[in-house]
Every structure is written in C-alpha cells, then in structure tokens.
C-alpha cells in the first residue's frame, strides 16, 4: 500500500488574508511540498496537468517531476492526471520515458481526460471525442513503450511509419499507468483491459460513484485474465485537513471550505464531510475515515490525499504534512498483508515447468 499526496496546483487567494500567491511562489511551493512529503515518509507525490488559470500546475508535469526527482531520493513521482486526450501520445511516450530515466524509475503516471471544454479546441481537439481520444491515444502510447519501428494509423493524429519513440523505457519496462475517471465506465474498462491500475478521484463525490466504478474495474480485470478481482490495482483520492483535535481542525478549515472553488457557498462543511471522503479532524478521526474506504473499495494499493488547495498557505500545508505523516504511519499498521502479485497465467506455467 502506497500513501501520498496529489495536487491540482491551483493559485487561489487565501480567504483569511485575501492574499494570492504569485504563480512563481505557487510553483516553488509545490516543490517544497513535494520535498516535505518525502521527508514525512510519504510514498508518492502526484501533480495535475492544467492549461488554464487559476492553475499553475505545469502544462508539462514531466518538467516539474524531473526537477523534484533531482531534489529527492526515494519518493515516487506521478501525475493526477496526465491529459491523454489533448496531448500527443508520442510526446507522452517520450517525455515520461525521459522522466523515467532521470528519476531512475521512481515514477509512474495517471491518465485522465480533462473536463475543461475550451482546453480541447486549444489543442485542436473536441471534448465530445474525449473517450475516443483516451482510447485511441493510449492504444498508441501502449505500443510505443513496447515496440520499435511502429507502423500506426488512427483517427486523431498523423500516421506513423517505422517510428521508434526515444528514449526507450528504462530497463525495457514501460512506466506503470493508472487510468483515472470519476464515472465513465469506459475508463474502468480500459484499465481492466490492459491490466493497468484504476484510480478513482473519489474526492468531491459521494462514495457510491467510487464503489460502482471500482467494482466494475475489478470484475473486468479478472474477466480479461489479469488476476483475481480482489487483486486488481486500485487507487483512491482523499482530502484531509488535520489538527491535533477535531474542533481546531474544523475551525481552521471552515473559512477555506466555505469559499473553496469546488464546493464553496454550497453545503456546510459537516454535510460535505458526511457525503464525501473529505476528512477534517484529528489524526485519529482521519485514520478512521480513511480505513472506512476499504468497506466499499476493497483492499487497494494507493491512497493519495489532497492537502494544498483552496488558498491554504504553504506553511499550513507543510504543517499538514507533518500531521499526515503521523496518520500514514498509523494507517500502515492496518495495511492488509501484501498479496502476492497475481500473474495467474505465469503461475500456471511455472508449476507446469516444475512438473516437467
């Protein structure tokens, strides 16, 4: 089980002071936050990809992640998400393979479609083709990391003849891929088809969405012969604000919650906590709520928390990470025993080999 943080990289005014950080501050703070995540013992740092204000998350996550890779030793670097719809899959193949080399393999990536309509035409695409783009582009990306001299023709990009993307994946092992979606069954199906990971954003939505998507992915993962449904590779988002006691956590976070870009001016903090994975409270309360995710998602492999949005100042976020480190240390004591990876087919072959 891996624990980490994911960021959307929003540049948002701190509602308690009215101060908005500059893009430069936000970008540098993101690096500081990633380094702190490693320091407190987290396993993963993931960044979003955006192409419109108020997001200073990089238009090119590999640039940020390569920089962080140079400043850290063991935290795994990932995305949340890399846009498989509006990026050229050839560039994704090259950029992330390059990152894989620079980070000595300490990376993976999560593919997502992006839900901002105008971003698509800015990159010559149409949001109505979102699913078709995700499927065609990934089919190409999957081949580019596994084959040389690729001949390819599709609907959305120029055809390729004898194309070999460079650099080749480190040690011939393509980067691990997660597919992220909130409620499009096609994406759970895609993840299952390839035996890749499936990540449910989980936050901002009732658990029912997550439960159904994860269940579909697990069943189809088994259907496609990648192993048992319970061993399918699932990741979940989470969103926390921590203080030593719950009253302080609620009091400190409420001014941010009440005007947050995603849910501000809507339901109360208490209502929102009751209906979504948002967890605001003491470390013990956050541990308890997080452990509850398994009740509908089963045992899963990656838990990412959102800790740095809605204008929270960087000092607060760094303090949150100290507390999150404690939470994660406690969560690790509840981890399910590590199931052997489930290469069912290989196991059968191996036992036949022994018999011979």
């Amino acid at each position: 089980m891996e624990y980490g943080i994911f960021t959307v990289g929003d540049v948002t005014a701190d509602p308690t002071t009215g101060r908005t950080p500059s893009e430069h501050e936000r970008i540098k703070n993101t690096v500081t936050i990633a380094m702190k995540a490693e320091e407190v013992g987290l396993d993963v740092f993931a960044t979003g990809e955006h192409h419109n204000p108020p997001f200073a998350a990089p238009a090119s996550p590999p640039v940020l992640l390569a920089h962080i890779a140079a400043k850290t030793d063991h935290i795994k670097l990932s995305t949340s998400t890399t846009l498989i719809t509006t990026n050229d899959p050839v560039r994704i193949a090259e950029d992330y393979a390059y990152l894989q080399h620079l980070a000595d393999g300490r990376m993976d990536l999560m593919l997502g479609r992006g839900n901002t309509g105008p971003v698509y035409p800015w990159f010559g695409r149409d949001i109505r083709d979102g699913i078709a783009l995700a499927i065609e582009n990934y089919a190409l990306l999957h081949r580019l990391w596994r084959e040389e001299n690729v001949d390819w023709q599709g609907t959305f990009r120029a055809p390729l003849q004898g194309f070999t993307s460079t650099p080749r994946p480190l040690d011939g092992t393509p980067p691990f891929v997660w597919h992220g979606s909130i409620r499009s069954p096609e994406i759970a199906e895609q993840a299952a088809y390839y035996g890749d990971g499936f990540f449910s954003n989980h936050i901002f939505w009732p658990a029912e969405h997550t439960a159904r998507m994860v269940d579909l992915y697990r069943r189809r993962f088994e259907h496609y012969g990648h192993g048992r449904a319970e061993d399918a590779i699932v990741g979940l988002g989470g969103q926390v604000y921590l203080a030593k006691n719950s009253q302080d956590a609620i009091r400190e976070f409420r001014p941010y919650f009440d005007v947050a870009p995603v849910y501000g001016h809507g339901p109360s903090l208490e209502e929102y906590m009751a209906t979504t994975p948002l967890s605001v409270g003491s470390p013990a309360e956050v541990v308890e709520k997080t452990l509850g995710f398994k009740e509908y998602a089963g045992n899963y492999q990656r838990q990412l928390f959102l800790v740095d949005h809605s204008g929270l100042p960087v000092d607060t976020v760094l303090h949150q990470l100290d507390l999150l480190g404690e939470v994660v240390a406690e969560l690790r004591t509840h981890d399910a025993p590590v199931a052997a990876p489930a290469p069912v087919v290989e196991l059968v072959e191996a036992s036949e080999g022994v018999a011979q």
Binding site: I135, E136, R183, E186, P206, G266, E271, T275
Partner: protein, 201 residues
C-alpha cells in the same frame, strides 16, 4: 401498478400549483382505473429541496431527500410536472430540478405539463417553455397541457381540461412497458459494449 411522480414547484402554502397538481393526480388515477392499473402517486414538492438543489448546482451531486426525489422521478412510469409562471417562464426552482436530473432519466417517459399564474395571458408558457424543455429531455409530452389562472379555479372548464390531459397521460402510461430502474451509470455501461468495440472506434 403504475407509479406517477408529481413534481410541483409552488412556493406558498396553500399553493394553487399544488392544487392543480392534485387535481391532475386524481384525474390520472381515475383514468387508469378502468384500464386495470392501480396507481401510486409520489408527490415531489420542490420547495423543501431548494437548498439541496442549489448545493447540487455547486457540487455536482445530490444528497439525501433530493437524491430520493430524483430516483422517484427517474423510475416513474409517468410524470406530472407543474410550475408557477415566473417572469414569462417556468420558475427557476422548477428548471433547476430538471437541470440537475441525470442524463436520460426521462427518456421516453410520458409527461403531463401544467402551470399556474395570476393571469391567463401567460398560458402559452406551456407551449414555448415547458414543452420544449421536456422534448429536449426526450420525454413524451401529452398533447393537452393544462394552464390554470386564478380565475380558472372558479370555472368548470378547468376540470374538463384536467380530465382530457389525464386521459392522455393514462393512455400513454398504460401502453408503456413498466419503467426500468436503470440509472445513468447502468445506461452508459449497457451502451459501452466490449473494449474491442471501443478500440475499433
């Protein structure tokens, strides 16, 4: 057994919008009886859902009683939708309920549209606002839409229009297969096909 969901957007209590909704519900129950159909009427009053509807606009999902109300409407065999006229159209509360209903929730559902106002001058709201709204939602709107101005509650012609509209709704509900219980996720899943189909475009 057929279920009729009655969506009513009146704000006052007592509400003439609710009164019209009740007349239409009773007439529909009466019209379905000779067809051998028992009817369950499920009234969805929008006023108590006003906060939840605004929250839905802001968060993108329904909770609690709103989620239950959406389910009632999506699973109904027929819908009676009644709104007061505000500024030459349906009320914002009424529209919001249908704005946040899942895609496909009313596909093929017979709908009787009705409206109330202080003056008969607004009666075409049913034709220029409600009928296109439900056509967009791929519902089947019955030919007779019922408008009641205050003065109509003192006239016998209102009841005859109520009965004609209810008869039309009853015929469509009776002729239709019992409504399924699929939601948007189920429909998306059913439409998806196998991954090889997706790969082949």
């Amino acid at each position: 057994m057929r279920t009729i969901a009655v969506v009513t957007a009146g704000l006052s209590n007592p509400s003439s919008t609710r009164l019209l909704a009740d007349l239409l519900s009773e007439a529909t129950t009466t019209a379905l009886a000779p067809r051998g159909q028992e009817v369950r009427i499920e009234v969805v009053e929008l006023r108590p859902l006003a906060h939840a509807l605004t929250d839905h606009l802001l968060t993108g999902f329904a909770t609690g009683e709103l989620a239950a109300a959406q389910k009632v409407v999506a699973q109904a065999d027929g819908v009676i939708a009644v709104t007061p006229v505000f500024s030459a159209s349906y009320s914002g509360l009424f529209k919001t309920f249908f704005d946040v209903l899942e895609n496909g929730a009313l596909d093929g559902t017979p709908v009787l549209v009705a409206a109330t106002a202080g003056s008969a001058r607004h009666s075409l709201v049913l034709e220029h606002a409600l009928r296109p709204l439900f056509s967009y939602l791929r519902a089947v709107v019955v030919p007779t839409a019922v408008f009641a101005a205050s003065e109509d509650f003192g006239s016998t012609s209102l009841q005859s229009r109520v009965e004609r509209a209810a008869g039309e709704l009853a015929a469509l509900v009776d002729a239709r297969a019992k409504a399924g219980h699929l939601d948007q996720f189920d429909r998306d899943l059913a439409a998806m096909g196998d991954f090889e189909d997706l790969l082949n475009g």
